[in-house]
Symmetry: C2
Subunit: 429 residues, 2 copies
């Protein structure tokens, strides 16, 4: 091993990444992959197809960090300028690598095509650089070792970049062989039913202590509507010790969060509840109004969900609540489509028709219109009928726009199923 | 007007944005908003809570670009360092603004709380800076005019940042008043049913011409599974002329793309088809198996969809295909659950039960398991039954993983409805 890589920066190249429609998502993969080697991302940047600006950004990044990964701009066209900008910055010349040209020519030949002259550009290699084979595309990657720094140039498409970076991170790869003993270890806890500040209130006294430990645990709190996540990270050279430390920390946090913590292994709520259903041999059906199928779509997004999801009914119109679910028309007229009696009748109706063990009904006002003073936009009634348990019916008022209301309604309904199933296990002798 | 803003850079501050779970999405909004003023984003960066690094990045950005927007790091805690780093770079001192302190103290008082001493930090204002009121949070923004450059510091949460930036872009606002005459104008075309290379083949000869015009039109092609988008952008000081040029260009492209172009105003496919249904006074119902409710969830994601979506059935299990849709058990056994006869029976069944004018049925193998040689993962049968039209039943094989197969199945089914409705109008005298 020649030197140790501790810090990195990523520069994504491409004018399309500076518009209002597309984000550089490669950096998420790169961040995670480098973290597994204990290499910390210090900064990342996006730059258009601008040779001088890329040269300047690269030149500064390579002085600050041990590794600079540049993604994109390796194609054959005029606006692909990554090679040129990086060699400008490092002050090294380029020449054509005949073996690469031959390889690209072969790729075209296999498709019965002649390589356009333009593609020779992709075979230009900086002096002292090593080309990296790209099994999924025509643009080869390359790396340059300059002193105790590494410049790594990778193609932009994720399906080309990812296997190339993974190969470099193997123990004998360019990056794997230069990783230090210290690695980043991490665990996460997902919660639902608590606000971000509630989660902080319950957990901050715990993680504040760990911040000052000799090997500190860093805690990040991420909040989305319907879910708050805690991510713990520890940099350590002792994998066994780090795992034990993080397991302990996670244990303390889960204890503080109680039932609000639903996942400690990255699985999302529909997956967690799906496995509970599967383990208990129970089936699920739903009757959805305002969520229009979103609850069932989320539950069946999980591979293997056909083992426990039977299906159900989307009764968006009142007629279908009567025709498909047998809800009493008079009850809808008396109490309204968004009411606890209607939700209960929807749950009963879908149970009668599917015989599923767990039946969930959702009816509400997702907005933007349809709200009243008594039942504002965001009002959602959820009824849950689990065989052997009393029917649960609750009215909620969710904040936010249409999307947020619909998502929170499904999240709350799925969480409601989890709570009933867990209470059922707790009640067992 | 003192000077004109033409270029900008964005720096997002926060260590959480360097991990593997979260992207800086503010930059998309900022890019779009500045583009509407003709201010072009040259680069963007993300940096952790690192005062020296932020200072260096900011110092370089402000030499290259007219406007530097720094987002985040304006909170009250120790790791909020944006004010300090920017004033370090500009070499100006800070002092407490008593009016801001009073404002923050009031916010706490209204909630019956005493302002923590920590929050005084948020009232520190650089000399010569102007504070910006933040109606949705405690961190005020601020701007500094330095020569013919502007440093703009905004809080990170989108619901705080967006109204503040919008206000600054009004004609009399900080940025609006300094925008040049040239603005960025843009239009988009969404297509489905064609691959990215097909779209390029049909359109590239057209847009290649426009690239060399005195006021060139820039074209970006964005491909996602089930949808390829063309975005055209033109920088011009002549709003009327630009609109005419872009309208012409869009017209030529739509002609080349034919029926594959479904939207020229940013509306997504469920919205476009929803409006077709609404305009014709038709109702929609669905019977979904492998998509598990995703088609109905997407259709009802559109505000106002209760005007035409009646609902339908999710028959994920074979039993429910029989019980809820009246599909013949023997037919499922003979032909399989994923077969054209079963799909047709599902469409008929949902029509019998809902009397909707347009009935769609989807049955398929989303994977990862369940595929066979004859019916590999990705096989999806779609049946569409529109009153007054012959039943349409087609078998597709979609590439990709579970998510992609499910999404493409719904996209293809919705597009199928659009094609039938358009053919119906074309057939009218």
């Amino acid at each position: 091993m020649t030197f140790e890589l501790r810090s990195a920066e990523v520069i994504a190249v491409g004018s399309e990444l500076l518009g209002s429609t597309r984000l550089d998502t490669n950096s998420l993969f790169i961040s995670r992959t480098l973290a597994s080697l204990g290499i910390l991302l210090k900064a990342k940047a996006v730059v258009g197809d601008d040779r001088a600006l890329l040269r300047d950004l690269f030149a500064l990044a390579i002085t600050r960090s041990d590794l600079v990964v540049v993604t994109g701009g390796l194609g054959p066209t005029d606006d692909d300028l990554t090679r040129e900008a990086v060699t400008d910055a490092l002050g090294i010349p380029m020449s054509e690598d005949e073996a690469i040209t031959a390889g690209i020519r072969n790729r075209f030949a296999r498709r019965g095509m002649v390589m356009p002259a333009l593609n020779r550009k992709q075979a230009m290699v900086p002096e002292g650089a090593t080309a990296l084979n790209n099994p999924n595309g025509s643009a080869p990657g390359l790396f340059i070792i300059a002193g105790e720094k590494i410049a790594l140039l990778l193609p932009g498409p994720p399906r080309e970049l990812q296997p190339m970076l993974n190969a470099l991170c193997q123990p004998d790869g360019l990056l794997g062989a230069r990783a230090g003993l210290a690695r980043l270890h991490s665990v996460s806890i997902f919660t639902t039913g608590l606000s971000e500040s509630h989660v902080e209130e319950l957990t901050q006294p715990l993680y504040a202590r760990w911040r000052d430990a000799p090997e500190p645990i860093e805690t990040t709190v991420l909040a989305t509507p319907g879910q708050v996540e805690l991510h713990l990270t520890l940099r350590s050279g002792d994998a066994v010790g780090a795992k034990a430390t993080l397991d302990d920390a996670r244990g303390e946090l889960v204890k503080a969060l109680g039932l609000f913590a639903f996942s400690t292994d990255g699985r999302q709520l529909p997956h967690v509840v799906g496995e509970l259903l599967q383990a208990r041999g129970l089936t699920l059906a739903a009757a959805e109004s305002c969520t229009g199928g979103l609850l069932m779509a989320r539950m069946t997004d999980v591979a293997g969900s056909s083992g426990y999801v039977r299906g159900g009914v989307v009764a968006y119109s009142n007629e279908l609540k009567v025709q498909l679910l047998g809800v009493d028309q008079a009850a809808i007229e008396t109490h309204g489509a968004v009411s606890e009696p209607t939700a209960a009748a929807m749950a009963d109706g879908v149970h009668d028709r599917t015989q599923a063990d767990v039946c969930v009904a959702i009816t509400g006002i997702a907005g933007p219109s349809g709200g009243t003073d008594a039942k504002p936009v965001g009002t959602v009634v959820i009824a849950t009928r689990v065989t052997g348990h009393p029917l649960s019916v609750r009215t909620h008022v969710f904040p936010g726009g249409r999307d947020m209301v619909r998502f929170q309604a499904t999240q709350t309904a799925i969480e409601g199923v989890r709570r009933i199933l867990l209470a059922a296990s707790a009640a067992r002798p």
